[in-house]
Amino acid sequence: MGGYLQYVQTLDYQALLPAMIVGGTAVIALLADLLLPRRIANGTAILLGVMATIMAGLYASLSYGVHYLAFGGGFVLDGLSVVFQEIVLLSTLVTLMLFNRRGVSEDRPAYVALVLWSSTGAMIMAGAGSLMTLFLGLEILSLSLYCLCAIARDREVAKEAGFKYLVLSSTASGFLLYGMALLFGATGTVTISALIHPATGIHGLYALGMGIFLIGLAFKLALVPFHIWAPDVYEGAPLPVTAFMSVATKAGALAALARVIYTAIPQPDAHWLLLPTFIFAAASMLVGNLGALAQTDIKRLLAYSAVAQAGYIVAALAGATELGIRSAVYYLAAYAFMNLGAFAVAALLSSDREEGTQLVAYEGLAARQPLLAAAMTFFMLSLAGMPITAGFLGKIFILSTTIHTGYWPLGALLVIGSAVSFYVYFKVIRAMYARVERFSHPEVRPPSQLPWIAVAICAVAVIVLTFVPVMPGDATFFVK
């Protein structure tokens, strides 16, 4: 075919600019590490990262409302990609504020660079218009995350987490890639929206490819049974990395999944093709919430809760309705902030030596730090779906979606799962507010007060979402 360069224009690079800002800043952070003394480089790196995410976020928000196919459809600029990029960037911003000395003191520029790179990957995934771009984004994201998991080199669990994540995620990437190859073989294109020709229907090879491709995405979303890595990896990875993984990875994978479901699969005669995904989502709601029951480590608890929440979000996509994608985007945004908020609280309970993720660290917190306990309670209530919180509204939207589309068993499981999850989250609240005679956990001094800003951002965001629960129409707009 004739040179594609004639299609490449400045606008294409502008569409990609937020991701390029973030990725480029990561390189600059490494340069800072090379050229500046250690102490200065540490601070500079965090500052650079924060500035880059804010700039990229502002720039991305400017392109809200623009619909454009960049690089011949390889990268898509539409409402959906902008909103998901913003979610990724905000979670990056919060993650950068949560660093703790224990995990990432020595390598802070490297930590910042890796977080920024994984953020770049997630942003590329959010706008991926072709399978190649999608895979590229996924690998940028995953490779950085493998390193991030193991960045606390003196912690055995961290290394173990990194190793497990590397092995299992590579396997999943292999599935994904194999699925893509089959899809390409079946259709002769890698452009997601061109994968299916409405007239020809679902071809056997296409179905197989799509099935295997979805396994890869299900792994990234940690849907049962592809969730099995999540608790161990979440527990082992440093706290900020866990926070990032639980939100940004999900955002990237969910954007890809939404794009595939809404543009590449003919509705509604492809119900059967997506059915396994929704069965996995249903299983996630149950296993996630039941698994969280017995946990005493906040990171592990939130890992299981993340499994369940991913199930809720995917359930919204069943039937591929307008209401569904709206609910999914809303719930993802709300989930991102309540989850990050909970992690930020945990960061404030961490010292240089130990991460405050054991449930005992929360005992009597209400008496010691009432404001922090109140914030944590707010996030937990929202995660549980207490009425009038953003979490509740999101669940209501998803529930009504499942009823509208006829996938009501998913809705029923959502209700059951939420009922179970109340116990899970109230365990944390009870620990904070129960009267204790003597604090068994020593008072800790967090290495920095930055997480307070993160807590504030998240709390404000959740409150705002509560009052403005309707995404503007463009937020869920696809360019095919």
Binding site: F163, F175, A207, F226, I228, P231, L290, G291, V468, V470
Partner: protein
Amino acid sequence: MESSVISWPLIVWLLPIAGAVAIWACGPLLRRFAGPLACAVIGAAFVGTLALWPAVAAQPAGVHVTMFTWAPGITVGLLVDRLSFIWLTIITGVGFLIHVYAIGYMEGDRAEARFFAYLNFFIFAMLTLVMADNFVFLLVGWGLVGLASFWLIGFWIERPIAVEAARKAFVMNVVGDVGIMLAIFALFATFGSLSYADVFAKAAQGPGPVMTLIALGLLAGACAKSAQLPLHTWLPDAMEGPTPVSALIHAATMVTAGVYLVARCWPIYQHAPGAMETVGVIGALTALAGAVLGVVQWDIKRILAYSTMSQIGYMIMGVGVGAYSAGVLHFYTHAFFKACLFLASGVIIHNLAGEQDVRKMGGLAKRMPVAFWSMLAATCAIIGVPLFSGWVSKDAVVYQTLAHGHPVLWLLGVAAAALTAYYMSRMMWVTFAGSFRGDEHGAHAHGHVPAWVMGLPVALLGAGSVVIGWLNWPHEGFAEFLAPIFGGTDVAPAAAWGGEFLSTQIPLFIALIVGAGIAYLQYGTAGALAQAPARLEREAAAQPAFLVKLYYWNELLDALFVTPARALAALCARIIDPKLIDAVLVRDVATDAGVLGLLFRRWQSGLVRTYALTLLCGAAAIIVYIAVVR
């Protein structure tokens, strides 16, 4: 008129909550300045309200501010049309005077700043209620005023009786809230929207039975909030709160929310004639029942509480027969004279060191001239002395019942007027005439002339009680002003029963003369005053128990609802919870969950090979599924 986001309605609406938050946050710093700050905020809101006047006067549809879309079909905005404007002037104007008064009344209280924060919060809640442009926001305001009322009735938390009264008010209001909520659900299901504009435009298309149910649900809310039968018992108890609260919330503003609701939802009632009939009957019965109970009260605030209940009965009766503007007019005048009565009674109570029993007063006219003259003006208004404000509005309401074809309600209204004239004028004579019967040393220890902060609002409101009704002149000014809202439906077509003068003014005047005359003969003559203390005791003992016990209504509600609820609770606590929930549901499930957990634990072994195997099994399942299904 559509308006931009930053606009007067928004400012008026947000000022009080800003004040409340500021005072609450900086309470310890502000100390004595909390009160003046709260007043300044409400004063500014009043000015803002007045600044809205040109727009409201020029635009029949009112000023509308759209804020945001809360959910599909529910757009939240502020609406200031002529109806809400009337309420706004009372809430901010009378509210401002009461705030000023409260500076004096609450001086030296332990938690002065908290009080003013609550008071500002209440104004915000009440503004939310009347400025809402949709039912959801209305319900939010409805709930928030209930909350503010709860806080303020129970403000003196160290008094168990006050806390009890607060709880009672809250619970009884929730009954009404549920009614409104059900009505809102039905509205949304029927019309697919909850904005006033949409609902009222489509009201004619609603099926009759549904409209009746909706109207009755709204009525339940109105009854609870406005202390109408059968949900009236919380209002007298609510007098345990500080007197400014009684004046602001339980006389001038919040308790009239029911009137506002019915007037606002008139298109719904227009299409639910049965429900509308019910509204009128409830109003009339409450007007009479409240007046009857007023006769047997000796506590000055309780007398006023029952008179409030009775007067709101008039308003509800007015809107219930379809004379919306007459009901609203009575609300307007009532806000002035009842606030004045409460504030003046507050002056008396303040000076007599907390004494509230009128039998222990007497001869106060000379000691407290401001309170006396203001209270006299307000009493003249409430009993309907010609040319006073109450005369204008009560006449209008009673006449409209007749004009709309409800002679029985007319009769009830006239009877209630006679009783009102009797017990209110009796209260005046017993309180202000004769000689002081109270505990001298208590009075002297604390009695001091009120400062102008308390005197001025009382005097202003007293003056208002006289003149405010004149707004309705030269002829039916209120109805004309409100015509864009009610579309002229509320004006009776022709002069009925020989015109207003013959059919209403004469009978009401006779009722006034009879009621006040009997009171004078019993309590006002020199002879009666001379032997007052002993006689008052005797008469109190001779009152029928049925009335003194308030028709045994509290006991009835207890027997019907509270006792069964307690029994159910006991059943749950003794049998269902330990035997069923704990034993079967919790322990057995926990055992099962334990087994399940063991399985999970084996699965979540931490070994990469187990995990990889899981992955493969999942993948194999999908592949097999696709191969089979295809």
